[in-house]
């Protein structure tokens, strides 16, 4: 019998499998884990930042951005994706990282403006000439109107859409949580396709030609109109909508591991600096710096907004009430 030699041979492949050491990046690389529609923005930011860093320090850095659904990206970081900074669609997705000790719980007060260097809002994209005469939220639940918006469970952007509709209904004269719930559940009955992400919903509306109105972030709506040509779509700004604040943060535990803290902090500061703010505005995000905002004022329609904090407290509360397993959105969905 060859019994003594069997065991090492058995173990060899097991060992090989276990020896998948993760190659660790040196301190001159930065990974930004971002959400889906920031693709164009961060492509430009990454290049501009690397150029500026080189000029200041003489060091070559390589900044890469990974894009995906905000919730998925957050989970990927939880599960071990080596993100130096996260730039996600909503604060809850970064709160979830803080809950697992990747950064301090008070992360959102570390940078100015709730850690959101740029903002947007929730608006309507309609077909050219607005054939269905969609002016405001009540028009979306008319019998002849079909609404496109992604699934709030899988799309961070869509959660803001949901909260915009809810907040509008709750803030009307005589508005209440009950009335808001009734309005929102009616709204989702007018949705023929629930895409899993914001880009998917935009494609369904723009390319598939489904639906009369797309509930979208202003930056996505402006981008779609620019890409498809202004003769195809109009943007309708509702009477009241939510100010969307996609936050950014350094992932402390991981930058300390990579030795990239200084680089990561400079990267986020860059977003607040005039150059970064200009790039945000060029990609249709509303900049925070008044000077840059004034310069690009013409491309943004006037809009009246409420903030998440004013209506819902904070994202943790909003998440548990509306979007957690068995939350309001799930209850509404089951009632269909």
């Amino acid at each position: 019998m060859k019994r003594p030699t069997l065991l090492p041979k058995l173990l060899l492949p097991l060992l090989a499998l276990a020896c998948c050491a993760t190659a660790q990046a040196a301190g001159d690389r930065l990974l930004n884990v971002s959400y889906d529609p920031t693709r164009e923005l961060y492509k430009q930011v990454d290049a501009a930042f690397a150029a500026q860093w080189k000029q200041k320090t003489g060091q070559d850095v390589r900044v890469t951005t990974s894009n995906g659904g905000s919730g998925k990206q957050s989970r990927a970081v939880l599960d071990g994706l080596e993100a130096d900074v996260v730039t996600l669609a909503l604060a809850w997705d970064i709160d979830a990282l803080a809950d697992h000790g990747l950064l301090p719980k008070a992360w959102q007060s570390r940078l100015p403006d709730n850690s959101t260097p740029y903002t947007s809002s929730v608006v309507f994209l309609v077909r050219k000439g607005n054939p269905k005469h969609i002016r405001d939220w009540p028009d979306l639940i008319r019998d002849d109107v079909q609404v496109i918006t992604p699934n709030p469970k899988t799309s961070g952007g869509a959660r803001w859409n949901f909260l915009a509709a809810w907040g509008w209904a709750a803030r009307q004269n005589g508005g209440s949580a009950d009335k808001a719930r009734a309005y929102v559940s009616q709204l989702y009955q007018h949705v023929p396709v629930l895409d899993t992400g914001a880009r998917g919903a935009t494609n369904t509306f723009v390319q598939r030609g489904i639906g009369d109105v797309l509930i979208a972030w202003e930056n996505e709506a402006l981008l779609s109109r620019q890409e498809a040509g202004a003769d195809k779509f109009d943007i309708v700004v509702p009477s009241l909508t939510i100010l969307t604040e996609p936050p950014v943060a350094v992932v402390d535990k991981l930058v300390d591991k990579h030795g990239t803290r200084q680089l990561a902090e400079a990267y986020l500061k860059f977003l607040y600096a005039p150059e970064g703010q200009e790039l945000a505005a060029k990609n249709f995000y509303r900049p925070r710096l008044p000077a840059v905002a004034a310069k690009y004022a013409a491309q943004f329609p006037p809009v009246k907004t409420f903030t998440l904090a004013e209506q819902f407290g904070d994202w943790r509360k909003a998440q548990t009430t509306y979007f957690a397993d068995g939350g309001v959105y799930d209850q509404i969905s089951e009632g269909r």
């Binding site: 060859k2 030699t5 069997l6 041979k9 058995l10 173990l11 060899l12 492949p13 097991l14 090989a16 499998l17 659904g69 919730g71 998925k72 957050s74 989970r75 809850w92 997705d93 979830a96 699934n151 469970k153 899988t154 949705v191 023929p192 396709v193 629930l194 895409d195 899993t196 998917g200 390319q207 598939r208 030609g209 489904i210 998440q319 979007f323 957690a324 397993d325 068995g326 799930d330 969905s333 089951e334 269909r336």
Partner: protein, 274 residues
């Protein structure tokens, strides 16, 4: 020393065990472990909602229907490819594998573009009152698409190696075409057909990429279980609820595949006895 095509027993077994253990068993065990740690109350709360039950029935009902369609279409396709000679046969043969290789998202987007109400095919179906994209029919279509090559590719080699004598004997004994098919060919092909069916079924149950593009993902209407799992994961926090659904899918799939196996054993006994 016997002549062996593969390295010795020890190494082969080691590779097999490492493969099975690391890639198949370990993740499945982790899933079972995670979901088992939750307790029956959580389980019941997760599984008993109308929405989950609806998604389960769509996932498994759709997959069963798709596997049946695949079995019939696949038999026809394999037959044509093996028994007939026609121009571009090799090209057709190669095309069969395409659903294997194509990223499922691409398949889903392509099917949706074709069958959406304003798509190339969809616009002709619309006046007939048939809508494929964003309905259950669309889910079925995507499942049929991804499962078809499994049936064709399992049947083909068997059909090729099938001896003609029994058929010819039946012919000389005066059997008509239908009789020859049912009495002679079908019994010989049945085990392979069932294998193809089981593979197509398993593939359709787990299919995610193509279905989510064409289904519209409406809760209580066109929502499949894999999407529900993703939703539970994406809304952040604990992975427990998603693990429960994953475990349910796993158990149900196992049951279905065991049933197909039993059917196959029964069929073999029946064929041998007959």
């Amino acid at each position: 020393m016997r002549n062996r095509a593969l390295p010795g027993f020890g190494l082969s077994l080691g590779v097999t065990l490492a493969w099975l253990g690391g890639i198949v068993l370990l993740p499945l065990a982790a899933l079972a472990w995670k979901s088992a740690s939750l307790g029956p109350a959580t389980w019941w709360a997760q599984v008993s909602t109308r929405r989950v039950l609806h998604a389960l029935s769509l996932s498994f009902g759709g997959a069963l229907a798709a596997a049946v369609i695949d079995m019939l279409l696949g038999l026809l396709l394999a037959w044509v490819l093996v028994r007939h000679r026609f121009p571009l046969r090799r090209l057709c043969d190669a095309l069969v594998d395409l659903p294997f290789a194509l990223p499922t998202a691409v398949a889903g987007i392509a099917l949706t573009a074709l069958y959406a109400p304003e798509g190339w095919i969809g616009r002709w179906l619309q006046p007939l009152g048939v809508q494929v994209a964003y309905t259950r029919l669309g889910v079925l279509l995507a499942m049929v698409f991804v499962g078809l090559p499994f049936v064709v590719r399992t049947l083909q080699p068997v059909l090729e190696s099938l001896e003609r004598e029994p058929e010819e004997a039946a012919l000389t004994l005066g059997a008509g075409p239908w009789q020859r098919f049912r009495r002679v060919l079908l019994p010989m092909l049945a085990p392979t057909l069932l294998t193809g069916f089981a593979l197509a079924l398993a593939r359709a149950v787990g299919e995610y990429g193509s279905v989510i593009y064409i289904s519209g993902n409406l809760p209580m209407r066109t929502e499949i279980v894999p999407l529900l799992i993703v939703q539970k994961l994406d809304s952040g926090g604990d992975t427990g609820p998603a693990a429960v659904l994953g475990a349910v899918m796993l158990a149900a799939s196992l049951l279905v595949l065991l049933a197909v196996n039993a059917l196959q054993r029964w069929n073999r006994r029946w064929t041998e006895a007959g």
